[in-house]
Amino acid sequence: MTVRTLIIGSGPCTDQIATALLAAGMEVCIAAKDEPVDLPLTFPGDGNGYPAEILGGARILSCRGVVGDFKVTLERTGETFCRTAANIIIAEEAESKPNFSLYNLVPSSNVISISEVADFFNTAEGKMIRHPSSGVIVFLSGLVEESHPVITEKIMRHGLQLQQDAGLQTFILTQNLKVAGDGLEALYRETKRAGATYIKFARTTPRIHQDKEGRVSIEFTDELTRQAFCLNPDLTVVDETVSAGEYLTNLAEIFGLDRDPDGFVQTGNVHRMCTLTNRKGIIVAGPARQIQSPEYHIIDAGNAAISAIELVRGNVVKTEKAAEIEPGRCARCLTCYRCCPHRAIALDIRPKIIKQACEGCAICIAECPALAIHMEGYDLSPTLGHTSNRRPRSGQEPFVPFLIIFCCSRSASRARALATSMGYKLPQDFKVIEVPCAGSISMSHIFTAFEQDADGVLILTCHEGNCHSEKGNIYAQRRVDTAIKLFSKVGFEKERLKVDTIASNMGKEFADFSTGLEKTLYALGPSRLKSDF
């Protein structure tokens, strides 16, 4: 097996990761989207050369295979070629777009974006503004859309420099000043001491005009003093919005990775903390992961390196159970291929589950229309037996509802243990069926539960966006919806089936949800589907 890691990226984060992995003795191949590549790759070593292959201007075309054995096709100057890798780390740069249009401005000699400030003061126009040392500079930030500390920091640093070095007057117009970054509040105070003026808006917005020559005037009412002001800046600097950009979006598509609403190659799913993705062996770091300060790109690099080393060493918790497709039954409909959140299904002559990539969520088993997929310890129609801990009713005793609660092993099962431990009041008679993921609860599970004496069935899934398999809870919700529709059609009380979302630390909610359903069931009476009804 190769110990090579393919790093896709071209910035300092990539450099740090490569350096770390080389120091750890791993083979590294870097595919940078642009050429030339500027990666110093220094590490404190003994001077022996270790193989680092740097491919500048190489774009990823496709990827096959799974963790330990990825086969990636790349393209460079019209040539296509292939690399195999045990891991892939995506650390490519994000894109910044200036927000001119948000403020109804067009870029001109005195309307620039925050990234252009440094260069601007080397140009002739820049020198002219700088010279009288009384120029007015206005920074527009987060007035229409919420800004970010990364942008605020840039604005404050530039502002401070211009204020201190050139004696310019800086105004920062914003809604919420984003100081939730390391040292930013102190920096904010420093800029104020240097003479910067902050004007914050909450209820009103400044009126920004730009004349034909490109000159800007800004009228506003100060919300504290309620006085009207007008600014005629010599230079207007607009903020930027950082987003994933086209290449990262493409990479997510190629590697089958879930994206966040801004297009970054990682969802907000807390189980991916901090550099993991929905696929084993594919790691995401730095600028490709989310908007964060350059310092955190370096922090991510350490994490990415550690994840890669752990994967190569096989120390990461291995899949104990993996699903398998029974060849004779498979109709090759590819449902499993489409629904697998971890991309563990390879398309050979027939679909095949690759053991090392399978996370054992069993979503495919519940989805497979041919019932062709199996996994050890997973039963499509579980024999619950006489699971009620009460004796078969003689008809004389008072009715006590029997609940079957399907619990996701990662959230609800733990919440149940917590509820028990804390001594919260739970239903009198219930049974918990632990499933690897709520997405593995099939219609057959639900019907079997009712067949086997349940008066009510409660399905507890992770919260949306918190599912380890990303969409398992949504599959569960969908199946419950279908079942409820069926129940309504046949006149069976749909209130007997309930789905709720829960987290592992919600013991109280486990108690509330289960006793809540128990209460409903007391009102409804015994289920007509019970064997002794």
């Binding site: 190769t2 770390a20 404190p44 500390p149 000043l177 939730a180 105070r189 903390m273 630390n505 919600m506």
Partner: protein
């Protein structure tokens, strides 16, 4: 195997990298990589000080890489502040990270490479490697091996709070005797729990102990301290219904819903006051605590989901960005939560056990008074009590803020083998702390490797 044209390219002043340049790259270059990191030094041990999010995450990462860890926690339970937080999902996960702390704690407790020492503090340490560390261990009055977590001691203790309970069930034991409150330690008048414990797990006369351990590297992860709002004009500790954000977190975690401490009734009107002890030059707290806007707005959202009749007002300076897709979250919040850009001046008692909050309303240009049923103070983070002591002990630099100054991420980050991570470096949330801890674990590993002969190993 094709021959790959390689030209030697001076990549750094110190050594040559073999860099494949263009050519026919049809196949992989021959594998030349060898495993340089040995990482099988089971004898290597890292001492992690602090069992909060940072300590747990760092310990776990190191253990995964086969490094032995001793995790030392001063308190009786692991998890620090993070484990007390409630899940703030409102149907949808809001990525607060509270459940991740639970997960990390479980992993740490179950990992055989990690030894957890609770109720333990540092007394002395040698200055050079390997560090010889003298630790002081408070008595474990409840034997973790015997305790089954049956709750009898907790439920039958005549005093409130003398038997403390951990937040995560992965704490072993889940209960601890609070010496400050327990009657036995006051006047030896009560041994109820000791007598009642069916396992005989409680021994109230157990002695304290001191022991020495040896470590190859040390990670300082003692976290932060929450600002005590007692001296603010908000009547904390005077009015029962003025609580902190941490109090609210714990309440939501235990009860699921919000209740007024004074009468256990659901409050109709709640005020959140932000930046209590943060962004405050009079305290010389020139930092934003980063997490309180997220914590308050997420809790407000959650309260609105479970108790929709509650009216929530949010007093703030600037709303800070948190989480992904903040724009959307914040737009959603604006429907549920009334926002007032002002920090209240004072809180007075009002009729019917309510609280009168006065603030300057810029919209009308004058001070207003408004009554609330409950006020939540979003208290900021400040350096932990032990920061100074540990900084002295380990010769770590303290920044103007009082937090430990980050050494940055250099090639050889901490030549002396002492690392700091997490909120001991400054305010940070759960996700950031976990990232910091992972990165520190990697630095520690690099350090351990640099101290062994493995760097000389070639194919």
């Amino acid at each position: 195997m094709h021959h790959i044209p390689i030209d030697y390219h001076l990549a750094s002043g110190r050594h040559l990298w073999k860099v494949a340049r263009s050519g026919r790259l049809q196949e992989n270059p021959p594998a030349q990589g060898t495993w340089r990191f040995k990482l099988d030094k089971a004898a290597q041990k890292v001492l992690v000080i602090g069992g909060g999010v940072a300590g747990l995450a760092a310990a776990y990462e190191l253990a995964l890489l086969n490094v032995g860890v001793e995790l030392v926690e001063k308190a009786d339970f692991l998890g620090g502040h993070g484990i007390q937080f409630a899940c703030k999902a409102a149907g949808k996960c809001v990525t607060c990270g509270a459940c991740v702390v639970e997960e990390k704690l479980e992993h740490v407790v179950q990992n055989p490479k990690i030894k957890v020492s609770l109720g333990t503090t540092l007394e002395q340490v040698t200055t050079s490697r390997p560090f010889s560390v003298r630790l002081h261990r408070r008595s474990a009055y409840i034997d973790p091996q015997k305790c089954t977590g049956c709750r009898i001691c907790f439920e039958r203790c005549p005093l409130d709070g003398a038997v403390a309970r951990g937040f995560s069930i992965h704490n072993v034991p889940l209960y601890a005797i609070n010496k400050e409150k327990c009657l036995y330690f006051k006047d030896k008048s009560c041994r109820e729990c000791e007598i009642l414990c069916p396992e005989g797990a409680i021994k109230l006369d157990k002695k304290e102990s001191t022991y020495t351990t040896v470590a190859d590297a040390i990670i300082v992860a003692v976290g932060f301290h929450t600002f005590n709002p007692q001296n603010t004009p908000y009547g904390y500790n005077i009015f029962q219904n003025v609580i902190t954000n941490l109090d609210l977190e714990r309440m939501l975690r235990r009860e699921g819903i919000v209740k007024r401490p004074s009468d256990h009734r659901a409050p109709q009107k709640i005020a959140f006051v932000q930046c209590v002890g943060s962004r405050d030059s009079s305290l010389n707290h020139l930092w934003c605590s980063k997490v309180c806007c997220g914590s308050a707005l997420r809790m407000a959202r959650r309260i609105k989901t479970r108790q929709p009749e509650t009216e929530i007002t949010f007093f703030y300076i600037d709303v800070q960005t948190f989480g992904r897709d903040f724009q959307n979250f914040y737009q959603g919040v604006q429907k549920d939560v009334r926002r007032v850009r002002a920090i209240p001046g004072e809180i007075f008692p009002a009729k019917q056990d309510r609280l009168r909050v006065n603030y300057y309303a810029a919209a009308v240009g004058k001070s207003l008074e408004e009554d609330f049923d409950m006020v939540v103070l979003s208290v900021g983070m400040e350096p932990a009590e032990d920061t100074k002591y540990l900084a002295g002990l380990f010769n770590l630099e303290i920044a103007d803020s009082g937090f430990i100054r980050s050494t940055g991420h250099k090639e050889v980050p901490c030549p002396n083998g002492i690392f700091s991570t997490g909120a001991v470096l400054g305010p940070m949330g759960i996700a950031e702390t976990i990232a910091h801890a992972g990165s520190t674990a990697f630095e520690t590993l690099t350090y351990l490797e640099s101290k062994t002969d493995s760097l000389k190993v070639t194919p």
